[in-house]
């Protein structure tokens, strides 16, 4: 169970005053609906109706299920957010429609009327860096290998910690040799050369006998996965290999600054 501050007032409201709980979290409902509007799941014109439908369904049936299943292992608002998210997807399935191009253009024009595009860009980048970090964490035991392979793929700067975190028993000498192997002309090497150089080290660390091509395929597969995850709803993103590189560069630049 995650260590979190249990919100006693939400728990009380859940079981004794569910109407007040739903009322209290109107902002959460709005944020989630807005996120789906941005992702194109709903039209901005449907916003109020959808919020109303969610409120009705929450109070009619869903809140009872939340009461039955909630076990204090998370905050009420997080579990409630998941229920609201499911309701949004349900409503979308029932409506089974997407906003037209004109509606999207209207959204764009509404945004462009504001004078805060730079601010929005900065906020968007920050949010995306957090999402990328969360994505890495989901890879758990493979996180270190994933990040190292991404750095190799995009020729981002390496350091010995990238190799040392691959496993608990990674020899410092192996890590140094790994980094040294790529010290010269790192950015000029083609993919084949990079994988041929690093695969022996991966094999030593992982005690495997993989070919460079296997590592290349693993990396390419993971890049596709990450792009898929970052683009999946409710995200309003269209990453490809090139834009992922920009995000990764920014991510590791920030990491370097904070270290």
């Amino acid at each position: 169970m995650a260590g979190h501050d249990i919100d006693e007032s939400d728990i009380y409201l859940l079981y004794h005053k569910p109407h007040t709980l739903v009322e209290k979290h109107q902002e959460t409902i709005e944020i989630i609906v807005n996120k789906y509007i941005r992702s194109g799941l709903f039209s901005i014109h449907e916003r109020d109706d959808i919020i109303q439908t969610i409120n009705v369904q929450l109070l009619d049936t869903k809140i009872q299920k939340v009461q039955q299943h909630f076990d204090n292992s998370t905050k009420v608002v997080t579990y409630l957010s998941r229920v609201i998210q499911n309701l949004c997807l349900e409503i979308h399935r029932k409506n089974s429609r997407r906003p037209t191009i004109d509606e999207n253009q209207e959204l764009d024009s509404l945004e462009s009327e504001t004078s805060d595009r730079e601010y929005l860009s900065e906020m968007f980048i920050r949010s995306e860096l957090h999402r990328l970090h969360a994505t890495f964490l989901l890879y758990h035991t493979k996180q270190a290998k994933l990040e190292l392979c991404l750095k190799l793929y995009y020729r981002l700067p390496l350091n010995r910690d990238d190799i040392l975190t691959l496993g608990e028993n990674v020899d410092a000498a192996v890590a140094d040799a790994f980094v040294k192997e790529l010290r010269d002309h790192y950015e000029d090497l083609d993919d084949k050369e990079v994988y041929e150089k690093v695969t022996p080290y991966f094999n030593v660390i992982e005690n495997k006998q993989n070919t460079p091509d296997a590592l290349r395929k693993w990396t390419n597969g993971k890049i596709k996965e990450i792009i898929h995850l970052l683009n999946a709803p409710p995200a309003n993103a269209k990453y490809d290999k090139e834009t992922l590189q920009i995000l990764l560069t920014k991510y590791y630049e920030n990491e370097q600054k904070t270290n």
Partner: protein, 239 residues
């Protein structure tokens, strides 16, 4: 009897409550607090990764609502201004925009040809100003300002660029070579598509070999003498 692993990929996916638990752990910076069976399942399961990340995106937005702009605030400029006053870092961003603006003005004034070109456009009634949103540019997107300059004629038409050809796709190195420049000293500048100078060299001859290529992307190169811009070209670095 088989050893039952309730969250392994051959069994059920995470329940809504477990997705919420995982997200809560990510938001509080304590993913290690998650049950290891759940973590291992998510590690292997793309669907559950997607579910967790989806809710994380929604909750992250909710949590940062007080600091960040929601869709409503985006439509409400007064709300943004209140936010602006509270955020000192935002002032830094504003300063950055101002510096970029001043640089752009200086650039227009200092580069012969471009200001004349713009003036002629204004005279023709075209007074639109292009504001480039650099944050949204991919490394391979064209720079509107430099493309504009690229298609305008240079004051000095005597120079003949021999290499690289315009739009050259580079992989290992690039040779810059020209003739008929009639200058003792040349300044070669390489800019990325955000108009940032990534390399600058002062040359006595009429050739230069760029061995260490910058990261992949679209680049522009300027050849100048002490008084004017002689040539503007572009090349692409791919891996």
């Amino acid at each position: 009897m088989t050893n039952h692993r309730p969250y392994s990929h051959t069994f059920d996916h995470l329940t809504d409550l477990q997705v919420a638990q995982y997200v809560e752990a990510l938001l509080t910076g304590q993913p290690s607090a998650i049950d290891s069976e759940i973590r291992h399942h998510v590690e292997e399961c793309l669907k559950c990764k997607s579910e967790v990340l989806g809710l994380y995106s929604l909750r992250y937005n909710s949590q940062t609502k007080s600091q960040e702009i929601s869709i409503d605030a985006a439509y409400d400029t007064s709300g943004f201004l209140k936010n602006f006053q509270r955020k000192s870092w935002l002032k830094m961003a504003a300063l950055f925009v101002i510096v970029i603006g001043i640089s752009a003005v200086s650039y227009y004034i200092s580069v012969p040809g471009i200001s004349q070109h713009k003036q002629s456009q204004s005279a023709a009634g075209d007074t639109a100003v292009t504001i480039t949103n650099y944050a949204s540019l991919s490394r391979f997107d064209e720079s509107p300002n430099l493309e504009d300059l690229l298609h305008s004629s240079m004051r000095s038409s005597t120079i003949k660029v021999l290499s690289p050809p315009d739009g050259f796709n580079a992989k290992n190195q690039i040779e810059f070579r020209w003739e008929n420049g009639n200058s003792a000293t040349y300044y070669l500048k390489i800019l990325n598509n955000r108009e940032e100078i990534v390399q600058q060299d002062t040359l006595q001859g009429t050739q230069f070999l760029l061995k260490k290529l910058p990261v992949p992307g679209l680049y522009y190169w300027k050849l100048e003498n002490q008084t004017e811009l002689l040539h503007l070209g572009k090349f692409i670095i791919r891996r």
